[in-house]
């Protein structure tokens, strides 16, 4: 077979070689992952949680398939307790990018009155998020689901693969994960298995914000500091949207300049005091901050290694 071809481009060594900065490297790597999945799976879906990581993932999906539209639907597991602004933002973004949006609610659990103060945060998450997610994936017969999780978020995620294998019940077994070398991803599944795909594995929280800034990506306004009506209890600041969140007769809401560092359900997501009203101010605040983003999510502190327990059950 013929092999010789003249080398295109300038002679190497003569001029300094161009280099990609670390954000563009992360971008290129994530796009590669998105395309591999679309090429090798039958029915991919993108988990859209409306947060900053999802916003970045959505932009990367637009980039990966441009000028074609995003070739998979977005899936939002709605607990019905998300902040109102998140839901408005979600619907607006889905329309803007022209993607199909599937909203799944565990209606039975909601009809049973499931909420964190009644059944506890662990059980509530399990029913509304984990069960909701597994049901939605089964209903849509999705064989690959993109998630916006990053390895730097939590210790048990540090060992997560880009392609995270799940058994027939959507569960994760750390001992059964496949080795991942280079950027070669193994897409073969046994009957009933599925994968979760994490295109943002190598991004850190700061990378996410720097990219949002560089790309001018819209995010939910809850991330920016504003005077908000909140319940202040010691260190915790809670913006009370659900009437079931208990209040002592002596308690009163007050106006606090605060913002959300990560987004979730309003009863379980605390705000932080902040003056950061722009993305550069958030980045500045982060560089100075010494508190990791998940500290404010009450759910991860339920028990030691709690995120790992949730993952084994099928949570992202």
């Amino acid at each position: 077979m013929p092999t010789a071809q003249s080398v295109a481009g300038p002679a190497s060594g003569a001029t300094p070689q161009p280099r990609l900065d670390h954000l563009r490297r992360l971008e290129a790597e994530s796009i590669h992952i998105l395309r591999e999945v679309v090429a090798e799976f039958e029915r991919p879906v993108m988990m859209y949680s409306v947060g900053k990581d999802s916003s970045v993932m959505l932009r990367l999906a637009q980039k990966a398939f441009h000028p074609a539209p995003i070739p998979f639907p977005l899936l939002h597991i709605d607990t019905t307790y998300k902040f109102k602004e998140m839901i408005e933002f979600r619907d607006r973004m889905a329309a803007e990018v022209g993607a199909k949006l599937i909203v799944h609610i565990n209606k039975e659990a909601i009809a049973d009155g499931t909420q964190p103060f009644k059944v506890g945060t662990q059980r509530c998450c399990q029913l509304l998020k984990t069960t909701g997610l597994l049901d939605a994936l089964a209903e849509g017969q999705f064989d690959a689901a993109f998630g916006g999780a990053r390895r730097d978020e939590e210790r048990s995620r540090a060992k997560e693969r880009v392609f995270s294998l799940r058994d027939t019940h959507g569960q994760w077994d750390p001992k059964r994960q496949r080795p991942e070398l280079w950027s070669l991803l193994n897409s073969r599944l046994n009957p009933g298995e599925s994968i979760r795909v994490f295109p943002l594995s190598n991004w850190t929280e700061i990378d996410i914000w720097q990219y949002i800034h560089a790309e001018n990506i819209p995010v939910v306004p809850l991330y920016f500091a504003k005077e908000r009506e909140a319940l202040v209890r010691g260190d915790s600041i809670l913006v009370r949207e659900q009437s079931f969140v208990p209040m002592l007769p002596s308690e009163k809401t007050q106006m606090v300049k605060c913002r959300m560092r990560s987004l979730g359900c309003s009863p379980c997501t605390g705000a932080i005091r902040s003056d950061a009203t722009t993305v550069p101010m958030i980045i500045e605040e982060l560089v100075a901050a010494r508190n990791s983003e998940r500290q404010l999510r009450i759910i991860d502190h339920d028990q030691d290694g709690s995120m790992e327990v949730k993952k084994r059950e099928g949570y992202f």
């Binding site: 070689q17 670390h22 980039k63 991942e180 950027s183 070669l184 290694g305």
Partner: protein, 434 residues
């Protein structure tokens, strides 16, 4: 200097790897306060005393309970100069595959030794795996120097041995105490004879030749984008080299040439693109191109038989009579390997693929010189290969084998009926595709 350095670490159990990484993360402020308090809480149940840095890195609960690290974990930290991705790989011999995994994407390896024990067989083995996976830059961290009274003679002896082991690679040795922090971030007063730089300073400044843009252009097609009649684009990630609008490229394995008409990105067309960008190329001529084809400038190997170094990662040994699925860049074929392998074995072997692949030698190009092997019966990623040289096909009888003979041979070679079905199905898929 690139803004991103990928590192992997290797050492035997208890050499102090977790302690070292924990300290790097802690001192570069990549560990957050709440992680520190949760580690302090966990430390109470295990050891008394100050913060146990190794707990920052042990990821999984089961492992924490057993007190050992058993899988690759990725850590992220950054200084004002660089961002670092660190693959933390365990030292047990049975976990060679994890070391290979971590090393496959690393630019530099940190090899840890316990100053009291000196160079062990394990250290040689780690160095060998790292070199095999293409790492040419090393840091030799001679740890626990506090336990040998910071004795320069002991340090020099270990360095001399490593000079022999790592001949041909560049390495920087550092006398260290991960536990007490000597020479990790800043130079230690307890080693006045060591001129530095410290570990972090070295990592921030070391030049590694990740300069894939200087190599010939390689673009494996991932997916064909056809949003409408008037657009046909080939999406992929440039694995090496540079491409300009108007450049001539050859499409392999068809061998047809054409020119690049447009380089399309979401942010608009560009004149030039280079590795490792992900882009979409539109070509001048209508050529039948699909996923798995590669657009190339410069000479490249196209073939079905080559020599490769293979790392075996599965408990089920490699069976030379069976077919495996081989994934190389974006191309999936079936393959036979000419010798058996046990778990964690590393050997050179001859690989024969059902269809041609478009490759370079691994030393020339990590992306186009590497492949993984998948067991079609379990779908586990069972092997990883680094391509050496193409070989002449001397087994003429096999080369001329018809489809029916081939299927029969594959079915006969399988151990069980289920495996026979799986292997024949894989081979058939392959035949149908081509």
């Amino acid at each position: 200097m690139p803004g991103l350095l990928r590192i992997c670490t290797a050492g035997s159990v208890d050499d102090g790897k977790s302690t070292l990484i924990g300290r790097l993360l802690h001192d570069s402020r990549s560990v957050y306060e709440d992680q520190i308090s949760s580690v302090q809480k966990a430390s109470k149940n295990r050891v008394a005393g100050p913060i146990d840095f190794s707990l920052f890195t042990d990821g999984l609960k089961a492992e924490r309970e057993q007190g050992i690290t058993i899988d690759v974990a990725y850590r992220y930290f950054a200084t004002a100069h660089r961002k670092f991705i660190l693959a933390d790989t365990p030292g047990h011999e049975q976990y060679t595959r994890n070391m290979a995994t971590g090393a496959s994407t690393a630019d530099l390896a940190i090899l840890l030794v316990d100053a009291r024990q000196g160079v062990k067989d394990q250290s040689r083995r780690h160095a060998r795996i790292a070199r095999l996976l293409g790492i040419t830059h090393f840091v030799v961290a001679v740890n626990k120097m506090d336990l040998v009274g910071f004795d320069k003679a002991i340090y020099d002896g270990i360095c001399a041995e490593f000079a022999e082991i790592l001949k041909g690679s560049s390495f920087h040795a550092i006398p260290m105490s991960a536990l007490e922090g000597d020479n990790v971030i800043a130079l230690s007063e307890r080693t006045p004879w060591f001129t530095g730089p410290s570990l972090l300073e070295h990592l921030e400044t070391v030049e590694v030749d990740t300069d894939v843009t200087a190599k010939p252009f390689r673009f494996p097609v991932q997916i064909v984008l056809r949003p409408h009649q008037d657009f046909r684009g080939y999406a992929g990630q440039i694995q090496s080299g540079i491409v300009h609008r108007g450049d001539e490229v050859t499409v392999w394995p068809s061998g047809r040439s054409t020119a690049v008409k447009r380089i399309v990105t979401y942010d608009g067309d560009v004149e030039t693109a280079f590795a490792p960008m992900s882009v979409t190329l539109v070509l001048e001529d209508e050529i039948d191109i699909s996923r798995g084809d590669t657009l190339v400038a410069g000479p490249v190997q196209v073939g079905q038989r080559f020599q490769a170094d293979i790392v075996w990662m599965d408990e089920r040994p490699l069976d030379p009579t069976r077919m495996y699925v081989l994934k190389h860049s974006t191309r999936v074929v079936t393959a036979e390997i000419d010798r058996p392998f046990e778990l964690n074995a590393i050997h050179s072997a001859v690989v024969r693929t059902s269809r041609p692949i478009i490759f370079d030698s691994y030393t020339d190009n990590r992306a186009t010189g590497s492949f993984i092997l998948i067991d079609p019966a379990t779908n586990f990623t069972c092997g990883a290969g680094m391509i050496g040289l193409p070989t002449e096909d001397d087994r003429a009888s096999r080369a001329n084998e018809g489809a029916a003979e081939r299927l029969a041979r594959i079915a006969r070679a399988a151990a069980t009926d289920a495996e026979a079905v799986a292997a024949v199905r894989a081979a058939l898929e392959d035949i149908i595709k081509y």
